[in-house]
C-alpha cells in the first residue's frame, strides 16, 4: 500500500452545504442552541400534520417535544440535510424513509410485481400438441389480448367483474428475444428491443445469451402485489396468460392442453425475481429476502447507461440495494421501526462512498494499470491474496484518514455501522472492479472490517461481531454450506441474514466485478433486459436520482387510489 494523491474530494460540496458557515475541518462545534426539532422544516411539518390528525381522530400522535427522552427532543445538535449522491439534490433525512418516499416504494413495487415467463413451452404446446400455427401475427394478437387481460380484464367468460384501468395503469406485458428478425416483426409497443436499449457490445452479448427464445416481461398492477404479496405475481400473471392463450388461439377453456400452458406459466417457464424463503423467514417468492445479489445487480441498469464508469454503475447498485435490503427488507419486513434508514442512507448520500470508491479506482490504475474507464476482462489483476490485501488496505486506510481529516464528515456518518459499511464497500468495489472477481471483492470487504476494527477499536453494532469477523473464512470458500460464489449469494445467505449495512453493498460488489469486465450482465441476461424497459415507472438506470425525486416529491408513483375514494 502507498497513499496516492487525489485532490478532488467529492464530499466537500455536501459538507459545506450541510455545515454552512463552518470550517468543515474544525474539531469543535456549537451544540444545544438549535431549538431542538423546530430547526427542521420537515419535523415542523410533521408536528403540524399531527395536530390536524389528532383533531380529526381524537387520538394523540407525533409529539417529539414531550415524548422524546422525557422532554428532551432531538436537535440538541444540528439536524443535517443530505445530498443524494450523484444528484446534487439536498433532502431532509426523513424524506429518505421509504414511507415518506414514493420512488422508493415504487422501486420495490416494480421488482415485486415482475416475473419473466418464457413463451417457447407454450408455443410448442400450441404447435405440436394442438397443431395450431404460431406466427408473428398470432403473437401480436396474443399480446394485444394479454395487455387487455393482465391488468384484470376478462377475455373468455360472460358477466365478469373487471378492474378500473385508471387504477392499474402500470400493468403491461412486453416481450424480448435475441432473434432480431422476430423482434422486428412484433409491434413496437410490445417489444423490448435489445439492440436499441443497450450499447452495441452489451446488446450483442445479451442477444447471444437470450438466443431465439422469446420471453414475456410481465408487470402486474402495483396495487395487486401490494394488497397480496410477491408470491401473487406469478399466479396473477399465469391466470391471465392462460386465459389470453385460450382467447388468442381459440382454445377450449377446459381442454387438457390448457394445463400445459398453466404449468409453463406458473412453474416451468417462469423466472421469479426472488426465490421462496424457508419457514423461519416466512416469505414467498418475489420477496426481497430471496433476491440473489447477482440478479439484483442485473435489475439495476446503471451499467447499461454508464458502461464506461463501473464505479458509478456500482454505486447505483449500492443505493438501490441498501434501500431495498436495509430499509425495506431488514428494516421493515424483518425488524420494524425507523432506525435502519439512518444506516442505509450513509451509503448513498453526500458522495462519501463515491469519493472513497473513486480513490480506489485511481489507486488501481496507478499501481496495477487497470484502465477502469475502459472496462475489459483483459486488464484485470489476478486476485491473489497479496493484491486483494493491498487494495483493501489502501482504500480502507485512505477512507479512515478522510474521516479523521474532516471531522464534519465523521459527524455526518456518526454511527460506526455507517462508516464500516461505507469503508468496506469502497474496498470491495475497488477490488471487484480491479480483479473482475466478486469473491475477491467480498474478501476485501472483510479485511477492511478487520483493519477498521483494530484501527479505531470499534466497528458497528453487535451484529458486526458475527458477520464481519468470521467473513474472511467464508468469502472465498465454495464448499457447500460454507461458501458460494458471490453472484449466487443473497440476503438469506447464512451469515448475511441479519445485518444491516451489508446486503446492498454485497450486491454492488458482485455487480462491480462484471461492470469492471465490461460484461452485459452479472447473473441473468433475462433480468437485465426486462428492467431496461423505459415504460417502467421507476428508472432502474438512475436509482439515486429517482430517490431524490421521491424525496422532493417530484416522483409520480403507480398504485393510484384517488379514483375510488372521496375527493379531499
Amino acid at each position: 500500500m502507498a497513499k496516492i494523491e487525489r485532490s478532488q474530494k467529492l464530499f466537500l460540496k455536501a459538507l459545506k452545504e450541510k455545515f454552512q458557515g463552518q470550517d468543515v475541518e474544525s474539531e469543535t462545534a456549537e451544540f444545544y442552541k438549535f431549538n431542538g426539532v423546530r430547526q427542521s422544516p420537515r419535523k415542523m411539518e410533521f408536528m403540524k400534520a399531527s395536530r390536524a390528525v389528532e383533531m380529526d381522530r381524537g387520538i394523540s400522535m407525533y409529539d417529539p417535544e414531550r415524548c422524546h427522552l422525557g422532554g428532551i427532543p432531538m436537535g440538541q445538535r444540528q439536524l443535517m440535510t443530505y445530498e443524494v449522491s450523484g444528484t446534487g439534490v439536498f433532502v431532509e433525512g426523513d424524506d429518505l424513509h421509504f414511507v415518506n418516499n414514493s420512488a422508493m416504494q415504487q422501486m420495490w413495487d416494480d421488482i415485486r410485481r415482475t416475473v419473466i415467463v418464457g413463451m417457447d413451452l407454450a408455443h410448442q404446446t400450441l404447435q405440436k400438441r394442438l397443431g395450431k400455427e404460431v406466427t408473428p401475427e398470432t403473437i401480436n394478437e396474443y399480446l394485444h389480448i394479454l395487455n387487455h387481460a393482465m391488468p384484470g380484464a376478462a377475455v373468455v367468460q360472460e358477466h365478469m367483474v373487471e378492474t378500473h384501468p385508471g387504477l392499474v395503469d402500470d400493468c403491461y406485458v412486453k416481450v424480448f428475444t435475441g432473434d432480431q428478425e422476430l423482434a422486428d416483426d412484433i409491434e413496437p409497443q410490445f417489444v423490448l428491443d435489445i439492440e436499441k436499449l443497450f450499447p452495441a457490445k452489451q446488446a450483442e452479448e445479451l442477444k447471444a445469451e437470450v438466443g431465439k427464445s422469446m420471453y414475456q416481461a410481465i408487470h402486474i398492477p402495483s396495487t395487486v402485489s401490494r394488497t397480496c404479496d410477491g408470491g401473487t405475481t406469478s399466479r396473477w400473471s399465469a391466470m391471465q396468460i392462460g386465459m389470453s392463450f385460450i382467447a388468442a388461439y381459440r382454445m377450449c377453456a377446459g381442454e387438457a392442453a390448457v394445463a400445459d400452458l398453466s404449468y409453463a406459466a406458473k412453474h416451468a417457464g417462469v423466472v421469479n425475481m426472488g426465490s421462496i424463503l424457508p419457514a423461519r423467514r416466512a416469505r414467498g417468492p418475489n420477496e426481497p429476502g430471496g433476491i440473489k445479489f447477482g440478479l439484483f445487480a442485473d435489475i439495476v441498469q446503471a451499467n447499461r447507461k454508464y458502461p464506461s464508469d463501473p464505479a458509478r454503475a456500482s454505486l447505483e447498485v449500492v443505493g438501490a440495494g441498501t434501500m431495498l435490503f436495509d430499509q425495506i427488507w431488514l428494516g421493515s419486513y424483518m425488524s420494524g421501526g425507523v432506525g435502519f434508514t439512518q444506516y442505509a442512507t450513509a451509503a448513498y448520500t453526500d458522495n462519501i462512498l463515491d469519493e472513497f470508491t473513486y480513490y480506489g479506482m485511481d489507486y488501481a490504475k496507478d499501481k496495477y494499470k487497470v484502465d477502469w474507464k475502459n472496462p475489459s476482462a483483459n486488464d484485470k489483476v489476478k486476485p491473489t491474496q497479496e493484491i486483494v490485501n493491498d487494495l483493501a488496505t489502501e482504500v480502507t486506510l485512505n477512507a479512515m484518514e478522510q474521516y479523521e481529516m474532516f471531522p464534519t464528515m465523521m459527524e455526518d456518518h456518526f454511527g460506526g455501522s455507517q462508516r464500516a459499511g461505507v469503508i468496506a464497500a469502497a474496498s470491495g468495489l475497488t477490488t471487484s472492479i480491479a480483479t473482475g472477481n466478486s469473491n475477491a471483492g467480498l474478501n476485501a470487504w472483510y479485511l477492511s472490517m478487520l483493519l477498521h476494527k483494530d484501527g479505531w477499536s470499534r466497528l458497528g453494532f453487535f451484529g458486526y461481531d458475527l458477520q464481519d469477523q468470521c467473513g474472511s473464512a467464508n468469502s472465498l470458500s465454495m464448499v457447500s454450506d460454507r461458501g458460494l460464489m458471490g453472484e449466487l449469494r443473497g440476503p438469506n445467505y447464512p451469515n448475511y441474514a441479519m445485518n444491516v449495512g451489508h446486503q446492498g453493498e454485497y450486491a454492488a460488489i458482485v455487480g462491480s466485478a462484471h461492470f469492471g469486465r465490461g460484461d452485459a450482465f452479472c447473473y441473468s441476461p433475462l433480468v437485465k433486459v426486462c428492467f431496461a424497459d423505459p415504460s417502467l415507472r421507476f428508472d432502474f438506470a438512475e436509482p439515486r436520482r429517482e430517490f431524490a425525486k421521491g424525496a422532493i416529491r417530484e416522483f409520480m408513483p403507480a398504485g393510484e387510489r384517488s379514483l375510488i375514494i372521496p375527493a379531499r
Binding site: 462508516r419 483493519l451 477499536s457
Partner: protein, 254 residues
C-alpha cells in the same frame, strides 16, 4: 511452554497503551479519586447506603448442586451474595479518549471476573453483579482509562463519540449529564440513565491534549498517531485475514 499473552501487535504508542491496559500485570495509573458513594450515584442503580437488591439468596443459603465446575470456579462477591446483574456503559470520543470500545472489552476480560461486556461503535457496556460492578466502575473511572471530558458514562442516548467536540472541549451529550464547571472540574448532574442527581458529582479536571495523545488507544491521523505509520500492526491484521481466508478452504496437511 506455558502460553504467554502478548496483548496485541504494534510498535506505536497506541499499541503500547493497548497492551498496558489489557495486561493485568501492569497497574493502571490512578489519576483521580471518586468516592464510593459518588460512584453509586453516577451508576444510578440503588440509593447510596441502601442494601443490594438480590436476584437469588446467598449461595451459602442455597442448596448448591454437586457440580465440578462450581468447585473449580470461585464465585465473585456479588455472585456469592446473590446480587442483581447491573451495568455501566461508556461512550468514548474518537478524539483521543484514553480507552475505546473493543479496548475496554479486552481490558475488562483480562482484569475482571464474572463480567458480560458488549461492544458497539459508540458505546461499550459491561454487566455484572452489582457490588462487583461498583468495584470495577471505580477502577474504570479513577484510572488512566477515563477522561472527564472525552469519556461519558451513559446508559442510554449515547450519541457523541464521533462528533466534533464542544467549544469547551467536552464530548457532545444531548442529555448533558456531565458539565464543565467554571472551576475547570467536570461534574455529573445526572446519573448515567439521565435522571437528575440531588447533588453534583465531581469527576475531576479534563486531561490535557498532550496527556491524551500519550495515553490514548485509538489511532487518529489528525490529532494523534496515524494508523498507517504502525506497519507492524497493519501487517498483523492482514496476516490474520489471510490465514482465516486460507482456512476457510479447510486445507489438509499432506
Amino acid at each position: 511452554m506455558a502460553y504467554k499473552p502478548q496483548y496485541g501487535p504494534g510498535t506505536s504508542i497506541v499499541a503500547e497503551n493497548r497492551r498496558k491496559q489489557m495486561n493485568p500485570g501492569q497497574k493502571l495509573e490512578k489519576v483521580r479519586s471518586v468516592t464510593d458513594e459518588d460512584i453509586v450515584l453516577i451508576l444510578g442503580h440503588r440509593a447510596p447506603g441502601s442494601a443490594y437488591p438480590t436476584a437469588h439468596p446467598p449461595l451459602t443459603e442455597q442448596q448448591e448442586p454437586d457440580c465440578p465446575m462450581r468447585k473449580i470456579v470461585k464465585p465473585t462477591e456479588g455472585a456469592r451474595a446473590g446480587d442483581r446483574v447491573r451495568y455501566i456503559q461508556f461512550a468514548d470520543s474518537m478524539f483521543n479518549a484514553p480507552s475505546q470500545p473493543y479496548q475496554r472489552t479486552y481490558t475488562e476480560m483480562y482484569r475482571f471476573r464474572g463480567i458480560d461486556p458488549g461492544t458497539l461503535s459508540g458505546r461499550q457496556i459491561v454487566e455484572c453483579r452489582e457490588r462487583d460492578l461498583e468495584k470495577y466502575a471505580k477502577e474504570l473511572i479513577e484510572t488512566e482509562m477515563f477522561d472527564p471530558a472525552l469519556v461519558g458514562i451513559r446508559g442510554a442516548t449515547v450519541h457523541g463519540h464521533s462528533l466534533r467536540l464542544a467549544e469547551d472541549g467536552m464530548m457532545f451529550d444531548m442529555l448533558q449529564r456531565n458539565i464543565l464547571g467554571e472551576d475547570g472540574i467536570v461534574k455529573y448532574v445526572k446519573n448515567q440513565i439521565g435522571e437528575p442527581l440531588d447533588r453534583a458529582v465531581a469527576v475531576g479536571k479534563p486531561m490535557d491534549e498532550k496527556w491524551l495523545k500519550a495515553h490514548t488507544t485509538i489511532f487518529h491521523s489528525l490529532v494523534g498517531t496515524p494508523y498507517r505509520d504502525d506497519t507492524e500492526y497493519i501487517e498483523y491484521v492482514q496476516r490474520i485475514h489471510s490465514l482465516r481466508t486460507k482456512y476457510g478452504f479447510m486445507p489438509k496437511e499432506e
